[in-house]
Structure formats: structure tokens, C-alpha cells
């Protein structure tokens, strides 16, 4: 019951948090910034609109938003939001879920190529390239977690017999994981050092240029999917930093959502303090995250038996 409640809350609140990033960035620039509920306004505006479809496109173009949104929703069902055991879990669900996210990426890229626009092709090629590299980092994290807990599911990581915790015997290694996972979050959700959705030039965008041709409810689905994905990654990072115990009951819910806000603030800080990397430096950025976790996994040969 409690987990159902948290998931419903998460699904509803997900568009709120990106507003925090905007607020932080505005504060850094000395501006007032858009209202906190800006994303809700955007979504409701998009949902009320109709759509323009390019004559070049086929049904694949319409599949892209649906598959990516469905995938992002599915991952939330398996994630122990607020430290409460999720609705569903099984040994190995992490592999399935990251592959489902991969399926979303597959169709987003295919939809972008469907428009026959060179800009979208360019964005698609970049997204595919960086996404492929980031996948290796994610699986390195899973390897480390398996070495630490012997588990292959989100529920086991955070609510199992030996939950992952900074205070645990391998806590030092988790510092590396947190940094790396934060980098993966920036890559996977097209945030600043990797991608800049607010740039004025399509040539320099990655994710944003891929969805140029989507409009109306289709675009709303894409946005919603990306909010859920960002929420998932933030929750993942937050639970590693600060594991919540199920015994705390409903107190977890505000703690959890408050903690997630901090991750979003961190994203805002990074975005304010950094410029976007040159495209040829992005692979190095992604590989750094892989190397960090790989290093941590190698260290477990000594510390964790």
C-alpha cells in the first residue's frame, strides 16, 4: 500500500523537480527564473495541442515517444522508491530494466532517423554513441553491486539483507560509484557537460535535436518519459548516499522526495558552473565514469570477501 502511494506520488511529482534545476540556474545567473510548476504548464499546453507530422515519417515516428515513456514508467515500478520494497522485483530485474531503457533509446533514435532531417540524424548518431558507452559504466556498477551484495535487483540493493550503504564495510568504494553514477545521470538525461537542451543551435544539441519534429501529446510523452528517467537516476543516487530504512514507515516519503530535490539542486549547480564539453571530449567523460567503477570493482577483490 505504502509503495503504491509512493509510486503514485513519484509519477505525479516527477515534472516538479526539473523546475528546481531551472530555479537553481536562474539564481546563479541572478534572475528570478520560471515558476516551479513550469513543467506542468508545458505538459498541459502540449497535451491540449494537435500535431504536425512530417510526410517523411511512418508509424515508427509515433512509436518512439510511447516506447520511451513506457520504459521509463516500468523502471519506477521496480525501484524501491523511498526505501520501501517496490511493487515488483526479482533476481535480475536490473538487467531487464536497463535493457528496457535501451529499447526506448532504440526507438527514439529510429524515430529521429525517420524524419529524414540531417540534424536529427546527427543527434541520433551522438545519442547512440554516448548511450552505448554509458551502458558499459552501468553494467560495471551492477558488477560492483553484485560483488558487494550478491544481488541483481534494485529491491535487494536497498532493502535486502545487506543493503548498500555508505556506512558499510565497502562504503569508500561507493564514493566512486556515486561520482560515476552522477556522470551517467548527466549523460543519460542529456544534461549540461554532455548536452545542452537550451542551446540556440541545433548542431550542438544531442537529445533535443532528435525530438525537434515531435509536437503535441507526442512531445508531452517524451518529456514525461525523460522526467521519469531523471527521477529514477536521482533516486538511485540518493538511496546510495542515504539509505532509507523501511521501518521508518511513512516518514520515508518526505525524506525521500526531499533528498531527491538535493540531487536536482546538485544537477543545477553543475549546470551553472560548467559549460558544455566539446563533442570530441564527451567520450572521454563517459569513459571516466566507466574507469571509476571498474577501479572500484577491482578493489573489491581485496576488501569484500
Amino acid at each position: 500500500m505504502e509503495s503504491l502511494l509512493t509510486i503514485a506520488l513519484a509519477l505525479l511529482l516527477a515534472p516538479l523537480f526539473p523546475g528546481i534545476i531551472l530555479k537553481v540556474k536562474a539564481a546563479f545567473a541572478g534572475k528570478k527564473g520560471p515558476p516551479l510548476f513550469i513543467k506542468y504548464y508545458t505538459l498541459s499546453k502540449l497535451l491540449r495541442k494537435g500535431s504536425v507530422y512530417s510526410t517523411s515519417t511512418t508509424f515508427v515516428f509515433k512509436l518512439g515517444p510511447i516506447v520511451s515513456c513506457a520504459g521509463a514508467m516500468m523502471i519506477l515500478l521496480f525501484f524501491p522508491l523511498g526505501g520501501m520494497s517496490p511493487i515488483l522485483c526479482f533476481h535480475g530485474d536490473v538487467i531487464v530494466l536497463f535493457y528496457i531503457l535501451g529499447l526506448g533509446r532504440f526507438f527514439t533514435i529510429a524515430a529521429a532517423l525517420d524524419t529524414a532531417s540531417p540534424f536529427q540524424g546527427m543527434g541520433a548518431a551522438r545519442e547512440a554513441f554516448f548511450g552505448t558507452l554509458a551502458e558499459a559504466s552501468i553494467f560495471a556498477i551492477l558488477i560492483l553491486f553484485y560483488r558487494m551484495t550478491g544481488a541483481l535487483s534494485f529491491a535487494e540493493y536497498f532493502t535486502g539483507a545487506t543493503p548498500i550503504s555508505l556506512a558499510g564495510p565497502a562504503g569508500a568504494l561507493l564514493l566512486l560509484v556515486i561520482v560515476s553514477l552522477f556522470m551517467v545521470l548527466l549523460i543519460e538525461n542529456s544534461r549540461v557537460p554532455v548536452d545542452d537542451p537550451a542551446t540556440h543551435l541545433e548542431l550542438t544539441m544531442i537529445h533535443e535535436v532528435m525530438i525537434l519534429d515531435h509536437s503535441g501529446p507526442d512531445l508531452a510523452l517524451i518529456e514525461l518519459g525523460s522526467f521519469y528517467k531523471l527521477l529514477f537516476y536521482s533516486a538511485f543516487i540518493f538511496l546510495i548516499v542515504c539509505p532509507l530504512k523501511a521501518t521508518w514507515g511513512l516518514a520515508n516519503v518526505p525524506l525521500f522526495f526531499g533528498g531527491i530535490c538535493l540531487v536536482y539542486v546538485a544537477i543545477g549547480l553543475v549546470e551553472s558552473g560548467m559549460a558544455r564539453l566539446k563533442m570530441n571530449l564527451v567520450p572521454k567523460f563517459v569513459l571516466t565514469s566507466l574507469i571509476l567503477v571498474f577501479f572500484a570493482a577491482i578493489l573489491t577483490m581485496e576488501f569484500v570477501k
Binding site: Y53, A70, L113, A116, D213
Partner: protein, 653 residues
């Protein structure tokens, strides 16, 4: 009389009929299709019917009064027979529509005959129980497929491809026979079952000789050089059989040798795993850089063979460590991927064949926009692409998941096993990512967007017989993804006679199957919910059509679209040392620039290494002995007499 043998006999007859009636092609084709379909379906029934019960059956014939040919069927043979009887009839239906020209009727009849000989030979390879019968049917398989590759023998590329294929098939066969020879010299027994009696060191030699031989048939890196040449040269349904089924006979050989030798040497497993990882990663990389549709698919066979070998290697490591779960899941992943790959790879080859036939070109960058013109081919190809990328809810994911599961088991150990398990997981992830990259390229460039050439714009959907096999295979891809339990059970049943350290806990297998099924069904459910939601949102909305937003372009042509070369460029460059990229370009220069041009080709390092490291030095060395061969027959007879005398003298001491 056994139904299985009857089925094989019917297939042989089906091959002979067109040879007799080739003057009237319509009759020949009809007879061929009818008999072959009947034979294959009969074969499939004999596999699964309880009354025929192939399990443990043995047939033996005495041949030439001194050799005994023994065939028997165990669980491993049984599993490998499934793709043969599943894919081959579909290929026959496809071939019926694919060969629609009548001028080459004799050649077509011969091709039909060889196809059926290939089917029979493959079926017999899986049941051969001693060295002699195995060698015989193995050669029958290689020769019939060689003739099939040479179908368009007028083209010089086909002749090169055929030559390369022949070379690798025979060199591989020599290595296999060498392994058999070593084994026979130690035991003096022909049966595979006696191989277990060999001393441990000899087992190692026998296994690695056989591994190299079978590896060249399977297309293991770096012995895959023939594959990217032979697959584009052969007719598409032959490529489907060769890539979907025949190269798996190499995998069968490796597994059969491993099972027969009954070894639990850790080095064997580790070597197989390393070969698997290298094949997997490099295969998909070369596929990314390749722009010929069928050649690209051929490189994906190298990749999938890599995944299959990784499963086998992890299984062997599991046996060496005595870890039943790891062994079981590794081998089961390997077997299930054999079945899955045969399904989606045949589907993709059928699709590629239809595209090439209708658009007249196999270069990815000259196609485009085919989804609208060839809807069934496009949709089934999309299903195949998602499956081969190993994404849920389709079949490729199920087997990859089993391999992942085995690899994660390997993390419990230390030293080399741990390191290899880590590398295995990361390379599986990289392979998955790169494969979906490559297939977004294929789907996006070939089927989506706007046509890049006149040919592509004029392509039309093929006939119903051409699309029927694709539809069936696409449905199978989804079926295995949604109902994985029974197929996993099938794969685990295939292991029954093979993994000696015991059965995997049935509860674990069952729970994994149920969970995977749950995950794919749940995803489909959420998908349908979102889809309905979207439908509701679009009710009473204004939907207009217009050109793609061109970012200020007013005069865009279809040539400004992203091409396969540009799409894959960054990732191919990233892996530079392993992929050699040759570019030829004429760039914008001067004030009034001329026509620009950009062309890339990637070179296979195995190709180059074999050429520079093996073939060229060997030719130089052997060139020094040319003087022995001068064409004087009397001297040749002299050599023979001298050789015989020396041997006879030597036998006295």
C-alpha cells in the same frame, strides 16, 4: 522404420525431383517445395512425437565392408535438429519466390538439390556418433554449401567468395580430422564416446585442434574471414540457412567435442570465453562500419557466434569450478541463443534479400524510405532488428539474459575467473549497445526517411510467398520473448546429456522463466496503456501533415539525410586501432569548388593479418621450392619411388 530417417529420405527425394523435371520449371519448383516442406515438417514431428522418441536411438551401417557408420541421437543432437527443421522449410518457401527467373532452370534445379543435400547433411552431422560418419557428413555439408555459394558463378566476387569459403572449410576440416587422428592414435576407437578415455594433455590438444576447425566453420574471429564474403555472394535464402543454421554446426562440433572429451579443464573454458568476447565485440564493430546490407548481417553472425561462445565458455568455466548454476545457465544461454539467432538472422536475411531484389542495390546508403513501400518486409525487419539487438520483449534478450546470469555467477570467484567474468559482462553490455546502434542504422537508413536513390523510390513489396516466412519468423521472435519458459526448458533439456556435474535447480530455472515472462508482458501492458492514453489524447485533435522542419533549409534534397557512413563514423573512429578505416575524399577547396566526394571503407584486421602474416610469407617460402615442380612426369614418378623406398627402409629400423 524410424520417422526421422523417413523424413530425411523425403528431403533427399525432394532434392532429386527438380533435377529430373527441370525442363518445366513450374512443375519442378512445385514438386520441390511440396516434398521439402513435407519432409521438414515430418522431421519436426518426429522430433517432438513421443512415439518416435529419438532419444538414445542408434543406427549403424557397415560401409564398404570395413567401416561402420554409427548415428545416434542424444539431447544435444535433438536441440540442434530443431533450427534445421524449423528454418529450412521457410527458406524453401522463400527460395520458391526468390528464384523467379526461368532462364537458369538447370542451375536453379541444382541449387534446389544442393539445398536439400545440405539440410540432410546438417541433420546427419548432429546425429553422427563416430569419427568416420562425422567426417563423411561434414564434408558433404561443406561441399553442398560450397556449390550453393557459387550460384552466381559468373560474377568474379562470387568466385573469390567461393574460393575463400572452400579454403576455410577445407582447412577447418583438416584441423578437425587432425584432432580425430590424434584421438584415434591414442585410443584406437572410432566412437565419440571413447574420447573420454584420452589422457588429459592429449584432450587439450584434441580440443584446441577441433576448436580451430569448428571455429572456422562457425565464424569465430579471426577465422571468420570467409563469412563476410560468402554471405553476400550466396542467394538470400541460402545465406539465411548458412548463417542461421549451418554455422551453428561449428558450435555443435565444439560442444560435442567438449561433451565427449569429458574434460573439466579451466583453460578450455577461459579460452572459449575469450574467443567469444573478441568475436562478439569485433564482429559488431565491423558490422557498424560495413555498408553492404548482407555483408553487415554476416558480421552480425560473427557477433552472435561470439555471444554463443561466451555462453559456452561460461558454462565450461562453471563445470571446471563445479558450479552447477553457472554451467547450466551458460550452456542454456548458448543453446537458446543458437535457436534465437537462427530465427532472427534468417528473418533479417530474408528481409535483406527482398530489399536487394526489389531495390536492386545492397548498399545501405543508396536505400531509404522502404518502410512505406515494403510495409511487411519493413515491419518484420524491425522486429528482427530489435530481437538481434537483444532488447526485450523479444527473443534475443532471453538468451542474453541467461548468459548474463551465468557471467554474474562467475563474479563469486577470484583471479582470472573474476576478471574474465567482469570482462564478459562489460563486453556483453557493449555488444548489446553496439548492436542496437548498428540496427538503428540499418532500420533508420534503409527503411525510414526518404529514398536516396531512384531504385529505392521504385521498390515494391514482394509476393506473398516472399513475405510469409518473414511474418512467421517475426511472430516466433515475439512468442519466445513473451513465453520464454517453454523455450528455456527446451534449452535446459538439451543439456541433459551434456553437463555431467548435475542438473540446475529446477526452481531457479522456473522462477527466472516466470520473471522474464512477467517483465516482457508487463512492458507490453504498459505499452498498450500508454498507447491507448495517446489515442485518447489525440481524439478530436487537429492533425496536419507537412515537410520535416528543415532548420532554415528551403531547398533540401534527400541527399542531405544522414547516411550509414556518417551515422557510424564517430563510433568506428573511436575504436580506431581495431578497425582500419580507409577514406577517399575530395573536399571543398578553392573559391569555386568542384564536386566533392567522400567514401569510406573499413578493413578487417583479421583479413589483413591473415594476408600479411600468413598467406604472403607462406607464398614467399613455398616459392623457394618451386623448382621441385617443373612438369616432368618421369621425375615425379622418381620422387614417388624414392619416397616409398625411404619409408620402407625406415620401417626396418
Amino acid at each position: 522404420m524410424n520417422t526421422f530417417l523417413v523424413a530425411l529420405a523425403i528431403i533427399v527425394v525432394g532434392g532429386l525431383l527438380p533435377l529430373a523435371t527441370y525442363r518445366n520449371m513450374a512443375i519442378a519448383k512445385g514438386l520441390y517445395l511440396g516434398t521439402t516442406l513435407f519432409g521438414c515438417i515430418f522431421g519436426l514431428i518426429s522430433l517432438f512425437s513421443a512415439s518416435a522418441n529419438l532419444h538414445g536411438l542408434t543406427w549403424a551401417w557397415s560401409w564398404l565392408h570395413c567401416f561402420t557408420l554409427v548415428f545416434s541421437c542424444d539431447s544435444l543432437s535433438f536441440f540442434f535438429l530443431i533450427p534445421i527443421f524449423l528454418i529450412c522449410p521457410l527458406a524453401a518457401i522463400y527460395g520458391f519466390a526468390y528464384f523467379d527467373k526461368t532462364e537458369n532452370s538447370l542451375r536453379t534445379a541444382i541449387s534446389f538439390f544442393c539445398t536439400n543435400m545440405l539440410i540432410v547433411a546438417m541433420a546427419l552431422v548432429t546425429v553422427a556418433a563416430n569419427i568416420l560418419s562425422f567426417a563423411l557428413v561434414w564434408e558433404m555439408m561443406s561441399l553442398s554449401s560450397y556449390i550453393l555459394v557459387m550460384y552466381d558463378y559468373e560474377k568474379p566476387e562470387t568466385r573469390t567468395a567461393g574460393y575463400l569459403y572452400f579454403l576455410f572449410a577445407q582447412a577447418g576440416a583438416l584441423l578437425i580430422f587432425a584432432a580425430f587422428g590424434v584421438a584415434y592414435s591414442q585410443t584406437g576407437e572410432l566412437e565419440f564416446s571413447k574420447l573420454a578415455l584420452l589422457p588429459a594433455e592429449v584432450k587439450l590438444i584434441v580440443f584446441f585442434l577441433a576448436f580451430l576447425g569448428f571455429g572456422s566453420k562457425a565464424g569465430v574471429f579471426p577465422l571468420h574471414v570467409w563469412l563476410p564474403h560468402a554471405h553476400p555472394a550466396a542467394p538470400s535464402h541460402i545465406s539465411a540457412i548458412m548463417s542461421g543454421v549451418m554455422i551453428k554446426m561449428g558450435i555443435y562440433g565444439i560442444l560435442r567435442m567438449y561433451a565427449a572429451l569429458a574434460t573439466s579443464d579451466l583453460r578450455i573454458g577461459e579460452a572459449v570465453l575469450v574467443f567469444g568476447m573478441i568475436s562478439g565485440v569485433l564482429g559488431v564493430l565491423y558490422a557498424l562500419g560495413t555498408h553492404n546490407l548482407k555483408k553487415l548481417l554476416a558480421y552480425h553472425s560473427v557477433e552472435n557466434i561470439g555471444i554463443i561462445l561466451m555462453g559456452a565458455g561460461l558454462g565450461m568455466i562453471g563445470v571446471a569450478k563445479g558450479n552447477v548454476t553457472m554451467a547450466g545457465f551458460g550452456f542454456a544461454g548458448c543453446l537458446l541463443h543458437v535457436l534465437n539467432h537462427s530465427i532472427f538472422k534468417s528473418l533479417l536475411f530474408f528481409g535483406a534479400g527482398a530489399v536487394i531484389k526489389k531495390a536492386g542495390t545492397s548498399h545501405v546508403d543508396h536505400l531509404g524510405g522502404l518502410m512505406k513501400r515494403m510495409p511487411i518486409t519493413g515491419r518484420t525487419f524491425l522486429v528482427g532488428s530489435v530481437s538481434i539487438s537483444g532488447l526485450p520483449p523479444f527473443n534475443g534478450f532471453v538468451s542474453e539474459f541467461l548468459v548474463y546470469f551465468a557471467a554474474f555467477q562467475g563474479l563469486k570467484y577470484t583471479h582470472s575467473t573474476l576478471l574474465l567474468a567482469i570482462l564478459a559482462i562489460i563486453s556483453l553490455a557493449a555488444i548489446g549497445g553496439l548492436a542496437s546502434f548498428c540496427f538503428t542504422k540499418v532500420v533508420g537508413i534503409v527503411f525510414l526517411g526518404e529514398p536516396r536513390s531512384q531504385h529505392a523510390a521504385e521498390a515494391r513489396e514482394g509476393g506473398r510467398l516472399l513475405t510469409l516466412p518473414m511474418t512467421i519468423l517475426a511472430a516466433l521472435c515475439l512468442a519466445i520473448g513473451i513465453f520464454p519458459q517453454s523455450f528455456m526448458d527446451l534449452a535446459f533439456a538439451g543439456l541433459a546429456d551434456m553437463v555431467r556435474i548435475g542438473r540446475v535447480d529446477a526452481a531457479i530455472v522456473e522462477s527466472i522463466g516466470i520473471n522474464l515472462a512477467l517483465a516482457s508482458r508487463l512492458f507490453l501492458l504498459i505499452f498498450v496503456v500508454v498507447l491507448t492514453f495517446r489515442r485518447l489524447l489525440y481524439r478530436n485533435k487537429v492533425i496536419t501533415k507537412g515537410p520535416t522542419w528543415g532548420c532554415g533549409f528551403t531547398q533540401g534534397t534527400t541527399r542531405i539525410q544522414y547516411t550509414g557512413s556518417s551515422f557510424a563514423r564517430s563510433v568506428v573512429n573511436f575504436f580506431r586501432p581495431f578497425v582500419i578505416v580507409r577514406e577517399s575524399k575530395v573536399l571543398l577547396e578553392k573559391i569555386f569548388p568542384g564536386k566533392t566526394e567522400y567514401f569510406t571503407r573499413i578493413e578487417d584486421i583479421a583479413d589483413i593479418a591473415m594476408h600479411r602474416g600468413l598467406a604472403t610469407p607462406l607464398l614467399v617460402l613455398l616459392g623457394k621450392f618451386r623448382w621441385i615442380q617443373h612438369g616432368n612426369v618421369q621425375l615425379y614418378i622418381g620422387y614417388i619411388i624414392i619416397a616409398i623406398s625411404v619409408l620402407l627402409l625406415a620401417s626396418f629400423f
